[in-house]
């Protein structure tokens, strides 16, 4: 494989609190190739959103955050470069879609000014025709009305489409979509995901999909990384994963998912540990039915047989 579009290598993020350092993620690594959709899956507090923020260079205060590892985008290590470069990169090469469209947009500006701002910041003339076209592309029926509207005048589904249109305005190579449909109804979710995959195919934009919804992953993503308590516990292409999840947590997640056919649920006992209780050993051990003594040691990374891109962090062998 040639060098991927985005390469995250051993990314560890810590937040400095008043008296100690809270380690939120631990050596997170994954790649995204051109035009791929890769998912980062996990429950709240597993570190998926902060990883996304780190890739986009949006961590609130660089002084309060400790960062180790590399984020290499198009061959450049972003954290080693000048922060100014990052700003140039955002919107034109890399952009982000957030979970809550109503709070991600400025309530005091009409949609047209917010979209035009992207051109202004890049020092380009505002092209209203371009704005209209981009809204049209994401399936907004009446672009002129939407351009004049304020965010409160539009529905959640419409706002998320505006967000996608904004993210795509300068045809970026990578879009980071952080729970893009969580705040939306299922029927609207299907519409929004359809738009994203269409753009992925048409423009060749790669998408990092951050979600807790395994259904979305199964339907749309090429590959996925399962995160638990700050670590990636399993990586696989979607087909392999659905056929045979290897990590006990992945297994549990799939079993705990309510199905439409009414298959009885199996709960995972216990709850996700908070970052101040993260251990060196396997962090899933206390909820795991396969726990052994060796689980107090850091789990080894094992490669999936038959597909070397995949793997999982557990002492268990693949058979279960």
């Amino acid at each position: 494989m040639t060098s991927p579009l985005l390469k995250v290598k051993d990314l560890s993020l810590g937040v400095k609190t008043s008296n100690h350092l809270l380690q939120l993620t631990d050596r997170v690594s994954f790649d995204i190739g051109e035009g791929e959709m890769v998912a980062l899956v996990g429950e709240s507090g597993c570190g998926k959103s902060i990883t996304a923020m780190a890739i986009a260079g949006l961590l609130p205060d660089p002084n309060g955050v400790k960062i180790e590892g590399e984020v290499v985008f198009e061959g450049k290590d972003l954290w080693k470069g000048n922060p100014k470069d990052w700003q140039n990169l955002r919107a034109s090469r890399l952009s982000m879609i957030f979970q809550e469209p109503s709070s991600a947009l400025n309530p005091l500006m009409p949609v047209s000014s917010q979209m035009a701002e992207i051109f202004t910041l890049k020092g380009r003339p505002v092209d209203m025709q371009h704005l209209r076209r981009s809204l049209d592309e994401v399936g907004i029926p009446d672009p002129d009305r939407v351009l004049k509207s304020y965010p409160h005048e539009l529905s959640g589904g419409m706002l998320q489409r505006v967000m996608i249109a904004m993210a795509l305005l300068l045809s970026p190579k990578l879009i980071i979509a952080d729970e893009p449909t969580t705040a939306l109804d299922v029927t609207v979710q299907a519409q929004v995901m359809e738009i994203l995959t269409k753009l992925q195919k048409d423009i060749g934009t790669a998408i990092l999909l951050i979600t807790h919804n395994l259904g979305l992953v199964a339907q749309y993503a090429n590959a996925l990384n399962v995160m638990y308590a700050g670590r990636i516990v399993e990586r696989a292409n979607t087909r392999d994963f659905l056929a045979k999840p290897l990590h006990p947590y992945s297994h549990g997640l799939l079993k705990a998912l309510p199905r439409l056919d009414g298959t009885p649920l199996e709960a995972i006992p216990g709850s996700v540990p908070s970052p101040d209780k993260f251990s060196d050993g396997c962090r899933f051990a206390e909820r795991c039915t396969h726990r052994k003594e060796a689980c107090s040691q850091p789990p080894p990374w094992k490669v999936r047989s038959g597909n070397e891109d995949g793997g999982y962090a557990c002492i268990l062998e693949g058979e279960r």
Binding site: E43, S44, S155, G156, G157, M158, D185, V186, T187, V188, Q189, A190, Q191, M193, E194, H212, N213, L214, G215, L216, A218, Q219, Y220, T238, R239, L242, G252, L253, L254, A256, L257, P258, R259, L260, D261, G262, P264, L265, E266, A267, I268, P269, S271, V272
Partner: protein, 321 residues
């Protein structure tokens, strides 16, 4: 039948302008009737803005009814917050809310939160309150050593368990759960669903389970009611609705859910939901339905049978193989 609602309407006036004149009304719930049998779980599903939460709140008397009535154990519900007479109704109908963070008082310990309703209703005395609270916590699978802590010390799933314990403290006949698992992670969600399942069985309670997540409702409820724009479009035994929906909207809702099988991609529903301020004439789903024609300009009636639907062109039933 333990709880019945007849032709419930909830409308909200919109006022505006200098003189605060009436500009219109939001029709949140339009003539919904429902029956809940003893020990049964009824699921109310629909997308945001369909009126499912308003209906739930109206059932417990938290929203005023413009029209219609709610009947609990054969008597019209009278939730009067000042009088003794409404007391039994308040006791027998309990509600659990979506957000376990905002629905618990942050300044009360768990013991205070759980014992207050029992003291008000004379279900315990100050001397045996701690034992009763310990019992309740055991029912929701929490340790009794936690009762002197404040809500902030608990995780989302634990707080939802405390909310359930509070609702159970009065031994209600009917429990109304409004999106109780949507704020929780998948692994915790399952735990809470299993707890509700267990309580329903052991306590013989009837449940009304309001949710936007059809798969979750499927786990818990024997009967199902699908709402669209404040009206019932389909109702019946959940198994039947899931295997063979008759209303096109129910089908569209089911088709939109991303399944784990990549060979069955979600299907798209065209258009946007109309605003509840200007309800469309005739069938409310008309504008988004592929089957719609002139007959749909007449409002379809909900068939009042075990499995009923409000549609002029119902889908053909799927034969079971």
């Amino acid at each position: 039948m333990i709880l019945e609602a007849r032709n419930v309407h909830c409308h909200y006036e919109i006022r505006g302008g200098l003189l605060g004149r009436r500009k219109g009304a939001v029709h949140a719930v339009n003539g919904v009737s429902l029956q809940l049998n003893d020990g049964e779980a009824l699921g109310i599903v629909g997308e945001s803005g369909c009126g499912k939460s308003t209906l739930g709140r109206a059932l417990v008397g938290l929203e005023p009814l413009q029209k219609g009535e709610v009947i609990l154990q054969g008597e019209a519900l009278n939730i009067n917050h000042r009088h003794e007479e409404g007391k039994s109704a308040r006791r027998n109908l309990q509600m659990i809310f979506q957000d376990p963070v905002t629905s618990l008082n942050p300044r009360l310990t768990i013991f205070e939160t759980l014992s207050e309703p029992m003291l008000v209703h004379h279900l315990c005395t100050k001397t045996n309150a701690r034992d009763r609270v310990a019992e309740l916590l055991k029912k929701v699978e929490l340790g009794s050593d936690l009762m002197d802590r404040y809500p902030h010390a608990f995780s989302g799933g634990q707080r939802q368990r405390i909310s359930i314990a509070r609702a159970l403290s009065l031994n209600p006949k009917v429990l109304i759960c409004d999106e109780v698992v949507s704020a929780l992670d998948v692994s915790v969600q399952t735990q809470i669903l299993q707890l509700l399942q267990k309580l329903k069985k052991e306590e013989g309670m009837s449940l009304i389970f309001i949710s936007h997540d059809l798969a979750v409702v499927r786990q818990l409820c024997e009967r199902l009611m699908v709402l669209y724009l404040g009206g019932v479009v389909e109702q019946g035994p959940s198994q039947e609705i899931f295997s063979s929906p008759r209303h096109p909207y129910t089908q569209a809702l089911l088709d939109a859910i991303p399944s784990l099988d990549p060979n069955h991609p979600p299907k798209l529903l065209k258009g946007e939901r109309p605003s509840a301020e200007e309800l469309p004439l005739g069938c409310s789903f008309r504008g988004r339905c592929d089957l719609a024609d002139e007959t749909c300009l007449n409002t379809p009636n909900l068939k009042s049978s075990n499995h009923g639907w409000a549609c002029h062109h119902p889908l053909t039933p799927v034969k079971r193989s």
